[in-house]
Structures are given as C-alpha cells and as structure tokens.
C-alpha cells in the first residue's frame, strides 16, 4: 500500500525511471553489442585489455583526484575566512563564490584560454618580474588544465561547506578552547568534524564534474591530453563505434560511481557524523 505522504514523490520517481534509468539501461544494452552483431562483454574486454585505453581511464580518474586535492587546498583559506568573517565578509565571499557559477562553463573555460596563453596575465607578469626570459603558455598542459578546473569546480566544494558552517555550533569551539585547546586544535577538533560530511559531498561533486568536464578538458587540455569524455566523443562522432562508446561510458560511470559511492558511504559513517 502506498503511503499518502509519499504520493507527491511518485511522479518524480516515474520521471526518473523513464528519462534517467531507462536511457542508462539502453546504454548498457548497446555496450553489449559486438561488431559481429552478437552479444557479450567484448567491447569491455577490448577496452580494458588495451594499455592505451587503460591509460586514458586511469588518467581520467587521476585528473579527478588531482583536481579534488587542489580544490581542497584552495578552499581551505576561504573556509577559514568565511568562518571568522562577519556578516558582510561572509556575504562578499558567498557572492564571489556564486558569481562564476552564473556564467556558463564554456565562458569560464574560454576565459582561462586567455589567462593561460603566452600573452595572458600569468606569462606576462612572470616576464615583467624577470622570472622567465620569454613568454610561455600553460595551455595544452596538465598544469593549466588543473588550474582551470580548480577555479571552475571550487564552488562545488565551498557551497556545501558554507551551508554547514552557517549552522555550526560555535559553543563547541568555545568549549574546546575552555578545555585548553589552541585556536587551530580547537577548530579542527570542534568544527572540522561538523563539516566533514559537507566536505565529502563537495568532493563527490568536484570529482564527478572534473572527470566529465568535456569542454574544459578538450579546450584547455588539447588533443595531447586525452580523457574519457573525449574518447567517447571520438568513438561516437568520428569513428561511429557506438557500442564501444557505450561501453566506455559505462566504464566511466562505473569507475567514478564507485569512488563517489565510497565517499558518500564515508560521509554517512557514524563517527564522521559525530555519533561515534
């Protein structure tokens, strides 16, 4: 029997089944089609037995991990500033975090093309400071790609953390300090555990977004840094190998999904929730 208080959820569940789950099942079905018209795991086997393809898969996951790490580093000072700031500073930080999200990812990516180019501000200021003897370009390099992705994905980590900080109990900090902890220790022992679930949720978002960011990967990374989304596009749009493209998509979904599931389970762990 359907509970009355879940009635409103059913149209959305139906919508998800129709437009999310069924295309995924279709994708899975296509991925199992072989070149000879038969069915099986041949496409998966072909992909995973090829060292080049495996390198693309691990490179994509490594990119996600690197971006998540550097986003965390970049977010730390902003989180501290937000925590210690008054309402005006908090508002300003929030606006600065949200503002880039109001522009499309494509626009932000092309802004990074200008910034990372040999005539861009990074190269030119290094030249002016005498730190380099000729202009240089960070385009088509992994460093440039990570820099762009860190800025683009940063709000995905900051926003959930800010949301938790807004309702974090400051009295726990005072209690820690009263018990003799220094400011850093008090913050990490009293406040940090409260934001860990938000940090993990942010990592899930950053990781998923960085590994699937086709536009940024292709425009900033170029053709010499190939990641799974470009690989899928090539199979679909250039080689017309749809079953292989579907298999690669399933592998991308599964590999990022496993990592995201792990992080989500970690976020729900009793001790991280502060119940341990």
């Amino acid at each position: 029997m359907i509970r009355r208080d879940t009635l409103m959820a059913w149209p959305m569940i139906g919508f998800m089944l129709l437009f999310f789950i069924s295309p995924l099942l279709l994708l899975l079905g296509i991925s199992l089609r072989g070149a000879d018209g038969g069915w099986g795991f041949g496409n998966f086997a072909a992909f995973l037995s090829d060292p080049f393809s495996r390198g693309v898969l691990t490179g994509t996951l490594a990119l996600g991990a690197k971006v998540t790490f550097f986003v965390s580093l970049a977010a730390l000072p902003l989180v501290m500033l937000y925590w210690h700031g008054g309402p005006r500073l908090r508002g300003l930080i929030l606006i600065c975090t949200l503002l880039p999200m109001l522009t499309a990812n494509v626009v932000r990516t092309f802004a990074w093309v200008v910034i990372l180019g040999r005539n861009g501000p990074i190269s030119q200021s290094m030249l002016a400071l005498g730190l380099t003897d000729r202009p240089f370009s960070l385009l088509f390099s992994e460093m440039g790609l990570i820099m762009a992705l860190v800025q683009i994905e940063l709000p995905l980590l900051l926003l959930p953390v800010f949301a938790v900080l807004n309702r974090a109990d400051r009295r726990t900090l005072e209690a820690a300090e009263t018990l003799g902890a220094g400011p850093w220790r008090a913050w990490f022992s009293a406040i940090f555990p409260q934001i860990i679930p938000a940090v993990l949720a942010g990592w899930v978002l950053v990781f998923a977004s960085a590994t699937t960011s086709y536009v940024t990967q292709s425009v900033i990374g170029g053709a010499r840094l190939i990641y799974l989304p470009q690989y899928v596009y090539r199979e679909v749009g250039v080689l017309f190998q749809w079953p292989m493209a579907a298999a690669i998509s399933i592998l991308l979904l599964a590999s990022t999904g496993i990592i995201m599931l792990g992080l989500t389970m970690l976020a729900r762990h009793e001790r991280l929730q502060g119940h341990g």
Partner: protein
C-alpha cells in the same frame, strides 16, 4: 509529514502531468518547417540570415541547426526512422558514409529552378554542391614568412613551435596529411611516412588542438601562427581583425565540394528543395561570395568576388586536388587511432 491530498486533486494533478507533453508542440510536427543542418559559425550565421527569408518566400519555415559534418551523421544514425534533420550540409567524405548507410536519397533536379545554372561538376546525383572549399595553409604574416608549401612547415626552422595540428576527425587535416604523405613518398595504403614525420615533429609542434575552431581560438590568442585551413577560415579570421594570409601548398590545394543532401525520410522534402534552390541561387551565392563567408560560387552567373579572388582563381579551383574519399574513408578509423596514440603524452 503527512500530505492531505484529496483523491480528486491527485487525479487532476496526474492528468495534468500526463497531458503536459501534448501541450508542448514538438518542432517536427510543424509540417511547413525545414530543419537544415549547417556547419557552426559563419555558415550558420550566413545561412540563417540569408536563406531564411528566401525559403519563407517559397512558403516554408527554415530552422538552421548548427552541427559539424561528423556530428550530423552521428545524430542521424542515433535516430533511425526519425531523422532530426531534413537536409544536411557535408563534404564528400561524409557523403560516402551517408550513401553507404542509406541515410540520404538522390534528388530530382527538375524540382530545382537554378539547377541548370550550376557548373556541371556541382550537379551531383545526391544534391547540389553549394560551394567548393579550397584548403591550404593559414599563416600570420607578422610572425612567419609565407610558407612555400607543406614541406616547409616541417623543414624550415622558422615554423617550429608555430604550427598547430589536429587529428583525422577533421576533413581539412585529413586532406593535408594525405597530401603531405604523398610528398614524402606515401600512398593511401601506406600512411607511415606522414606518421613518421609527425612523430619526429612533435617536440617542435606549436599545439595539437582538438578541432578546427579550437585552432582558430589559439590563432586569435597568438598561441600559434600556422595551421591547415580553408579559405573560409582565413576570411573569418581577417573579419575578426587578425592578420592572416592563405598559402597554396606546393602539391596543389586539396579541395572539397560542400553539398546539401536530402535526408531519407525527411519530414518536409518540398521544403528541402526550396532550401536547396535558395542556396544555389545567384542572389544567395553573390552575397555568400563576399566577406566574411567568401564562398566560392558554384552558380555560373556569379563571378568570383574580390575577396575570393584574393585567395583563388577559377583556374586554381579547376586544377585543385580532389582527394579520393572512398580510399580515405576505408582507412580513416585506423588513421585516427594511430594519430591519437602518437600524440597523447
């Protein structure tokens, strides 16, 4: 939380949800509308601005849908029996694939008023050629000298770190690589000479971009100064205020006709004929021959414009290199794989 929802309210809400799709009128249901795929950028702008009123005069609406040639095929293959486009705009490389996969159909020339105005070479069984795209080398004259040809790009030190390359997904790049391969002794059956050359050149390459438009972005940003391009690319960069010149390769300029095809099972074939007729009319081609599109006309009543004449003469077009697309398509997947594995770090 418990929701107090009456049976009547729930039924109403459910019916409304079910009825919603019927209220959204799908584009393909509009019988008088033609959905025509065109290349993004200057093609899309020009076709939308210029051809829409002409097609409307013939009694049809025109929706210009931007998509690269390979994407047009991919989308068509993705919707068997329900094509997303009525008309396509592609080059011979894609035309062969479309014919092999039974995705386009031969046209009836008697339904095109301007058919007889076309050059004989532009009268193709599967649709009219609307222009000839001449390819060669785009270069920045403020950075490098005019290249004598493809060979100079790989052998003259002044081009080192200035040349951009792209993969075999691009028609322009594919034609350039097959020509370079011939210069270095290769054939369609043996592309190893060009792959050896590219491998040796990689440390000195300016950039390996992901698409033609990506190359143009890099050119605008001063990242590169040379790339394989069509005359249309050069005209577009000039329009944007960039110093850009066109050089013909020593082995002749690889050229491709660009064709409008009628999609098999198109919702509005009559509209497609009106669209084809507009695209090959003297009025449209005269305008399209001007900057920024600078398209080479295929209508014999249209003379080469000043901007087109800066790039090519009718004699050069007549003597251009027309690659063997059947041979290219037979190997393209394998070349794409080889190129990608060669360049990935």
């Amino acid at each position: 939380m418990t929701l107090n929802l009456s049976r009547r309210a729930f039924t109403l809400a459910g019916l409304s949800t079910l009825a919603a799709p019927a209220l959204i009128r799908p584009a393909f249901a509009q019988g008088a509308n033609v959905v025509a795929a065109t290349f993004p950028g200057s093609w899309e702008d020009a076709y939308r601005t210029l051809l829409t009123p002409m097609v409307q005069q013939a009694g049809f609406g025109l929706t210009v849908a931007p998509a690269l040639a390979q994407d047009q095929i991919a989308r068509l293959m993705a919707s068997p029996g329900q094509p997303p486009y009525d008309a396509l705009l592609v080059s011979p490389g894609q035309s062969d694939i479309l014919i092999q996969n039974d995705l386009i159909e031969p046209i009836d020339p008697s339904r095109l008023k301007n058919w007889d105005k076309l050059t004989p070479a532009a009268q193709s069984e599967y649709g009219p050629h609307v222009t000839i795209e001449v390819n060669g080398i785009a270069y920045n004259p403020q950075v490098v000298d005019k290249p004598a040809g493809y060979k100079a790009l790989f052998e003259d030190p002044q081009y080192e770190y200035n040349v951009a390359l792209i993969g075999f997904g691009s028609n322009t790049a594919t034609m350039a690589y097959t020509e370079i391969n011939k210069i270095y002794g290769g054939t369609y059956e043996n592309m190893q000479p060009v792959f050896d050359l590219l491998e040796a050149y990689l440390p000195k390459v300016g950039a390996i971009a992901t698409s033609g438009s990506n190359q143009m972005t890099m050119y605008q940003q001063g990242e590169i100064a040379v790339f394989m391009a069509s005359t249309g690319n050069v005209a577009k960069l000039r329009e944007l205020g960039m110093p850009c010149e066109f050089a013909h390769p020593e082995s002749g300029s690889p050229s491709v006709p660009v064709t409008i095809h009628l999609v098999k099972g198109a919702a509005n074939p009559d509209g497609v004929y009106a669209y084809m007729d507009a695209a090959i009319s003297a009025a449209a081609q005269t305008r399209l021959a001007e900057a920024p599109t600078a398209m080479i006309p295929t209508n014999t009543d249209v003379p080469y414009s000043a901007v087109v004449s800066e790039f090519v003469t009718p004699e050069q077009v007549a003597n251009a290199v027309y690659p063997d697309w059947q041979a290219i398509n037979a190997h393209r997947a394998e070349w794409t794989e080889t190129f990608d594995r060669l360049v990935v770090r």
